[in-house]
């Protein structure tokens, strides 16, 4: 299926958010996720099933004021 990851389209075979992150190469523990604008905690990622067209945001620590 195709999902939108940080505003870019990606094909993924994974069914769960946890597996998709791994497939997409987001292996660092220092990430936070939101699916279709809704926060998904680290603990819930393996329970969340993806559907075609989902919008995934993967955020990481960045400089800030």
């Amino acid at each position: 299926m195709q999902i939108i990851v940080n505003a870019q389209a990606h094909e993924v075979r994974a069914q769960t958010l946890e597996a998709a992150l791994c497939e997409l190469g987001f292996t660092s523990p220092a990430i936070a996720t939101a699916l279709n604008g809704v926060f998904v905690s680290r603990a819930k990622r393996s329970d969340v099933l993806l559907t075609n067209g989902d919008r995934l945001e993967v955020l990481a620590p960045m400089q800030g004021g």
Binding site: A30, S41, A60, Q63, G64
Partner: protein, 255 residues
């Protein structure tokens, strides 16, 4: 001073953005003696650059205060706060709800609403707000235990635009930690904020965009300490006319 039960020795909070290099940021953190640094969340790149930046900063040993910079709605700010808590493992959040893209002025209505939602969910909210007393009251009612009034627009380096309003905040909220956030340009601005009785100063651009950030970090730390001591020492009142400081008694008649 204490913020949300955490004892803080340094009254200077430092932002981590806009430094010319990570090593310069690390030097500025060290020379400023800050114990609280602000961070943000942005889209991770495929090369994992965010994780690398974070690993480097953890060595500084500071408390992390994640922000919701760039959020224009309550929903964005609340979601970002949840992501920050999941990532940084802290209940602290510097809450920003931007009202105007050009002035970066806080949307105080959205700010109060987001603060209430987050405080009820266990967050310890540091709200970036204006110097309005009523907004301050609403933020405290919403569960905030710290207020962060602006000095001037973010990144402007203008210094304190409205010192009288900050003085009024100090008088109105005598027990609430007040941290001036944004607008500080020079050490004298930071000292002025502290002389008004503010508990701490949060700044970023003034250090990051100085020609020598590490030295400016130290200068800001000294200014904050000097201003704080000055406030505690109860400055003399201003006078309109000269009053001789050298005793007049015993003055010789030499004419």
């Amino acid at each position: 001073m204490q913020v949300y039960g955490t004892e803080i020795t340094s009254r200077l909070l430092l932002g981590t953005a806009q430094y010319p290099a990570p090593s310069v940021l690390a030097e500025a953190i060290a020379s400023s003696g800050t114990e609280i640094i602000t961070l943000s969340l942005r889209r991770e790149t495929a090369d994992g650059s965010g994780a690398g930046f974070w690993q480097g900063l953890q060595q500084a040993g500071c408390h992390i205060l994640p922000n919701t910079a760039g959020c224009h709605s309550v929903q964005e700010a609340v979601t970002t706060a949840h992501m920050a808590r999941d990532l940084f493992n802290t209940a602290w959040i510097k809450l920003e709800v931007v009202g105007h893209a050009d002035t970066l002025q806080p949307d105080v209505f959205g700010l109060v609403e987001a603060a209430r939602i987050l405080a009820e969910d266990g967050f310890q909210v540091f709200p970036y707000t204006t110097d309005d007393l009523v907004v301050g009251e609403k933020l405290l009612e919403a569960g905030c235990e710290v207020l962060m009034p602006w000095g001037a627009p973010i990144g402007s380096g203008q210094g304190l635009r409205n010192p009288d309003a900050l003085r009024a905040m100090r008088a109105h909220f005598p027990k609430v930690p007040l941290i001036v956030d944004a607008g500080i340009g020079r050490p004298s601005d930071a000292a002025q904020a502290m002389e008004l009785g503010m508990d701490a100063v949060l700044l970023n651009t003034a250090v990051a965009k100085a020609g020598d950030p590490a030295t400016m970090g130290r200068a800001m730390a000294l200014a904050v300490e000097a201003g704080h001591l000055g406030y505690a020492a109860d400055p003399m009142p201003r006078r309109d006319m000269a009053v001789p400081s050298t005793p007049v008694l015993g003055l010789a008649e030499l004419t």
